[in-house]
């Protein structure tokens, strides 16, 4: 008997009933609903929703915060779609447009502040708390996403993990706006990006380690 026939026999002998995985769109929606509940709870208990309401009157800020949220949602959806074998890999491009809008609107606000307040405006109220916040919110979000995605079969684990981290980081940056009663400065933007970048590095390392020890499909 050839080795392949033996493998077929072994697989048939090992067959156990499995529960079919729900469609990726449904799984992504459920995960986002969970994250929304958590985010709302954090924002309402320790955030400044009133300050955020005032800032939303500015169209530039409204665009920025919507783009942040959309980046997070799009990246989470893309990660879920990439985690099943037969969905087009093009889903990975979904978060690109909101991401570009987010970075551009954030950057233009920084530029505006720099022009209005001068160089002193660039460092106004900036501290590393933003970075800590994004990482503190983003790490648990990323980990929970990676655990949920592992249930599926990401054939490209690193790419999927990067999308998950981008989603978690963007959602972290969105929730951060409830605690951020001022416009984003250059230094802030740097810290926000550093926070998301750190999440991406952590996720990529986790995914490649996972692949190297042969645990991914």
């Amino acid at each position: 008997m050839s080795e392949t026939s033996k493998i077929v026999d072994d697989l048939v002998a090992e067959l156990t009933p499995v529960r079919c995985l729900a469609p990726p769109a449904l799984r992504a929606t459920l995960w986002l609903a969970g994250a929304a509940v958590l985010g709302t709870a954090i924002a309402l208990t320790i955030g400044h929703p009133a300050a955020l309401g005032q800032r939303l009157a500015s169209p530039a800020f409204a665009v920025e915060i919507s783009a942040t949220l959309l980046t997070g949602i799009a990246a989470v959806f893309a990660a879920f779609f990439l985690s099943v074998p037969d969905r087009p890999r093009l889903w990975a491009l979904l978060p690109i447009v909101p991401l570009v809008v987010w970075l551009a609107s954030s950057g233009s606000q920084c530029w505006h502040n720099l022009m209005v307040f001068g160089p002193s405006g660039a460092s106004k109220d900036a501290d590393h708390a933003c970075l800590v916040f994004i990482v503190a919110v983003g790490v648990p979000l990323t980990l929970s996403l990676l655990i949920v995605l592992r249930r599926a079969a990401p054939l490209e684990p690193v790419q999927t993990a990067l999308l998950a981290a981008l989603g978690a980081g963007a959602l972290g940056a969105f929730i951060l706006q409830f605690f951020h009663p001022f416009d984003v400065t250059f230094l802030d933007l740097g810290f926000h990006l550093a926070g998301v970048g750190l999440l991406l590095v952590i996720a990529a390392l986790l995914a490649s380690f996972h692949t190297r020890i042969g645990r991914s499909p």
């Binding site: 077929v8 002998a13 009933p17 037969d86 599926a152």
Partner: protein, 208 residues
């Protein structure tokens, strides 16, 4: 195909047992079979694997040059299919799902094969020969008459020592016990025998 898949033996897995043109006539049955597989139906599973195996083989052989690499890829695809069978959505076609897994595993195998081919060089018949012409002549070409003459030229004691120590590979003690010769005289006899054979058969001797 029958409404209830029959249990097929491993003989159904051979290439020639694969029904021809089933991609058209049977592909639409795969989702239903896969639902049965997800429910734990082993006969449906055996039937499905037997049906997709030739497809996977032809896909792997198109992507991998060496047949053993292609077969390794097929085995890895089967193992992955088994591990991720819960990710198949019965509302969607089966073959794109399977081929996405297959393509991934074939690419992995191509990378592995590329890496090992860069590091390793396979032996060919030329690598297994030596530079000296004499070492490459086969045993049949060896002059058996010359060897017989050389052995006949040895004394009986030398011949006995050679037989026990070199052909039967006994230790000096065992050879001494069998032949009744002392260890010292066995050593001397074997040494002389080898020396004389070398003189008779070596490059200076009669044979090449």
């Amino acid at each position: 195909m029958p409404a209830e898949p029959q249990r097929l033996g491993t003989e159904a897995l051979a290439d020639d047992a694969a029904p021809t043109g089933f991609a058209g006539s049977r592909a639409e049955d795969f989702p239903r079979l896969m639902v049965q597989v997800q429910a734990g139906d082993t006969s449906a599973y055996r039937y499905l694997l037997a049906a997709v195996l030739p497809l996977l083989r032809s896909l792997a052989r198109r992507g991998l040059w060496r047949p053993e690499d292609a077969e390794d890829a097929v085995q890895e695809i089967l193992l992955t299919l088994h591990r991720v069978r819960h990710t198949y959505d019965p509302d969607r076609p089966f073959l794109p799902w399977l081929f996405a897994i297959a393509r991934r595993r074939i690419i992995d195998r191509q990378r592995q094969a590329g890496r090992s081919h860069r590091r390793e060089t396979e032996f060919t018949a030329e690598h297994e020969t030596f530079l000296s012409v004499a070492t490459n002549s086969s045993a049949m070409e060896f002059d058996l008459g010359a060897l017989q003459d050389a052995i006949n030229a040895l004394t009986p004691a030398e011949r006995r020592a050679l037989e026990l120590l070199k052909l039967k590979e006994l230790s000096l003690k065992e050879a001494a016990a069998i032949s009744g010769m002392s260890v010292a005289s066995l050593k001397v006899a074997a040494h002389r025998a080898v020396k004389r054979l070398r003189a008779l058969l070596g490059p200076q001797g009669g044979a090449p």
